[in-house]
Amino acid sequence: MTIRTAKAVILLIAGGCAAVAGLLFKEHREYREAVVVSPYITEVKKLSDYSDSVKDSVNDANVYIFDSGVPGGTAVLIGGTHPEEPVANMSAQIFTENVKPLQGKVIVINRINRSASLGTRMGEAYPRFYHVKTPWGTKKWRYGDRVASPLDSWPDPEVYIHYPSGQNLAYMDIRNANRTWPGRPDGLLAERTCFAAMELIRKEKADVVMDFHEAELEYAVENTIVVHEKGQPVAAMASMMLTSQSFDVPIGMEFSPKALHGLSHREIGDHSHAVSYLAEVAEPMLDRIRGITDEELLMSGKDRFVMKAGEHKLLYAPIDENGWPAHKRTARHVTTMMTILQVHNMLTPDKAIILDGIPSYGDLMDNGMGQYFADPDASPAERVFFD
């Protein structure tokens, strides 16, 4: 075989690899997640309806508005801040697909940093998609990265200087939608996204904002509600009620540090009238010491290496052979939000937000999540949207 033929073979193989990888990446980037909004939807807007800063960008997310028509408060739910934390957007979508507002208004964004959900984290061998079994078939979501894709926001600065505090942050955090609050209209993609969301929060006069997350068990801020000082009494009461009445693993509470900038629990409360909350739940997939990184780990939350770390008291959350399954993580987020609203309603009855149709912790633990997501093919087209 001459060197020419050998090179041709090499080119063919490398080209084949590039083609396969390219097709897989393309499929991931172009897959659209169907959302069947609840029949009580008032309006579906775009983030760009609140600010031009995200117009024509990949982060011009859907904004689902459910208005009861009865005067009360307004809650904004944010999912998908970090798309490598899948329970965040699934929890938001439980609301989008099931909520029936009885008083006040609830606004949901399932995917606030869409760009970050269009590719997985480089070098981590993440699965591209994850699935949930439903009574009508399997529902599929994109698994993603923590930060926006470099295809949409590039290059990063040497040092990211947070606006407006001037605090220095790591370079890639300029693509991190939980380091770019309150954002600015002429910044980079994540900054513009947060600015538009901030405009939404201000224009809709939101009273409560919840940002859903998940965290590795090796991280100290775990299974907790992080809260702006405006919401301390509500979060304290909610965490005690949840620990006492619903959860097997307690949920704590943390004060939002005043000097740590760019985070939703700090900046939303500082730059609007809303009280900002952030909820964390344990996701073993994010632990550095995890074993095989696949969809099974993502959804079951079972990992014997993480368990081993727990035996050596290296973790901030308990884990056993039952793991941290996705439906349990979702159940915790959904119930945390509902309990925060319950306490909020007690303390500020004139700004009450009363929601019906949302499954309880027990419902989600007993039935799983599947039955709370509707079949987009069997639903009326005017109720089907794509994130």
Binding site: V226, Q232, M237, S239, M240, S244, F255, P257, A259, Y316
Partner: protein, 183 residues
């Protein structure tokens, strides 16, 4: 072997009796309450909210200092132990300064005739690092009475501590149940 078993049984019985005595001895907690935290964790806020929903008067100040005690009419001071890095960072303090403030405060409260309670009510999540340990050690050492939730004592640490130091211990199911225990 048999002798050993008998001895062990006697020891258990004694321990049980002692525990029973200790809790029987526990003076009834009496309000109004003054609550602070040694480590800027949200325990003090939680305690106040729990008291509030049980209809018990409690005032909370995360930066309460000994001189500030003068104007207060409280009968009992509760200091929650366990630290939060976020909280201490936010308040511009650290665990050593917190311990200094709280030990002085607890001393002053006792001189003023108040009952001093050391509490740990946020469970195992606030028993993870050396700061937590330091805060617990300082607060429990200076307390007349120990108040804990079941999760905080899931390994028996506080029960053992109370026994060793001859301090009465009040143990409640969870943070939400504290309010009723304060009635």
């Amino acid at each position: 072997m048999k002798k050993n078993a008998t001895a062990l049984f006697c020891l258990c019985l004694a321990a049980l009796l002692f525990a029973g005595m200790a809790s029987a001895e526990a003076p009834k907690l009496e309000g109004p309450y003054l609550v602070t935290t040694c480590g800027q964790s949200p325990g003090a806020v939680m305690l106040r909210m729990s008291a509030l929903q049980a209809g018990v008067q409690a005032e909370h100040d995360n930066a309460l200092s000994a001189p500030a005690l003068a104007g207060k009419k409280a009968k009992t001071l509760i200091v929650t132990a366990g630290t939060s890095m976020k909280g201490m960072g936010a308040a511009g303090t650290n665990v050593n300064k917190e311990i200094e403030r709280c030990t002085a405060l607890m001393e002053a409260a006792r001189s003023a005739g108040m009952t001093v309670v050391g509490a740990h009510i946020e469970g195992m999540a606030r028993r993870t690092d050396s700061s937590d340990e330091a805060s617990i050690e300082a607060v429990m050492g200076a307390a007349d009475i120990i108040l804990v939730v079941e999760d905080s004592d899931s390994d028996g640490f506080f029960t053992r501590y109370a026994g060793e130091h001859g301090k009465p211990i009040v143990k409640v199911k969870d943070a939400l149940a504290i309010g009723n225990a304060l009635k």
